[in-house]
Symmetry: C2
Amino acid sequence: MGVAGPIPVSRSARTMKLTPSAFLTLGMVRLGARSGYAIKKVADVSTRFFWPTSLAQVYPELARLVEAGLLIRREDPQGSRERFAYELTEEGEAALEKWLCSTHEAETQFRDEGVLRLFFADALAEPDQLKLVRHLRARVRDVSAHTREKIVPLAEALEPSGTRYPALVARLRADTYAYAEQWLADLEAELET
Amino acid sequence: MGVAGPIPVSRSARTMKLTPSAFLTLGMVRLGARSGYAIKKVADVSTRFFWPTSLAQVYPELARLVEAGLLIRREDPQGSRERFAYELTEEGEAALEKWLCSTHEAETQFRDEGVLRLFFADALAEPDQLKLVRHLRARVRDVSAHTREKIVPLAEALEPSGTRYPALVARLRADTYAYAEQWLADLEAELET
DNA sequence: GTGTGCATGTAAGGAGTTACATGATTGC
DNA sequence: GCAATCATGTAACTCCTTACATGCACAC
């Protein structure tokens, strides 16, 4: 009873397991997103498409990264509205680069109800099969168009300052979905005959 | 105290929310996978790539679908090893077809650590950028090759009996990844100059 | 002055994975 | 006889989302 409770020990970067979400956070800070809110806002028009996140993930992640010594947190209020600005420490930059150079990665996850439907489309009569393919194609087309028209320009705005990979990734997405749309268009044409 | 406890009421298909995993299960039974184990085995070489599942999901899902009246479960032992065979009820077939014809779908989920790395690749020196792109390309190539060499033939085995969509979906995947590989090859060539 | 956006966080719940637990069958 | 596969299920845990809770700033 008189014994002191356990002393809280800040975990070093070495003992902490860093998830891709942690590196997303680190990477976003490096790109200039200073607050948790800003990180989420940028992620929603960029990394969301291959690594979604939410505010309820970002805030605890930031706290963990500060505790691990990879980020520092400064007060940065806007008038009387509280705000915190984060910056990479040297260790944070090193951790980010180490991750970028590592080749081990979490297994790719992909879940698409539309493709799942297509897989089972043999259960339908032909006119309904055609409808299903058309619907899927329209969705794929919309993704491609949205990416090219909205996301690519946002990412290209970073290019003058030497940040080109966000735009490359956006174009890869737009082009790949455009390819898939053409593929489905061919299937559609085949079904129509 | 003398009052009887609540009587367990089996939920009808109408009151039960059916998830894509439920329709995956229904669809697999329709394709001839009779046991939970068999469903998982087939899913692992087909739907896994766009809707992963696990035995710990399949078994409770089967129980729920039986309770909802969409499947019936028969005992089907192999010697003294227990086994259960599932079959679609008429309501089960109707539910599957209704789902296939509906256009509302869960948002597509995609998580890929490799693409996330590419997004942040500006933090690297050029030689390391090139390594990263090469690694990603190799992975994409492997997916395409594996799909074309292993998955497509399995799916094509179903074609003689009139089930062609599994093979179509597999080819869509192989072709789309092949396109992405070429795209990354072009990027690689550009980085090399 | 009001709605939208900026800003930070917590709590509860859901969906899905891995590990646990057990045992029979089949092919080498 | 031994390993891989067939077979069914539960328990614990993790990750992630939605909802909750709060309040300021700015533009119309």
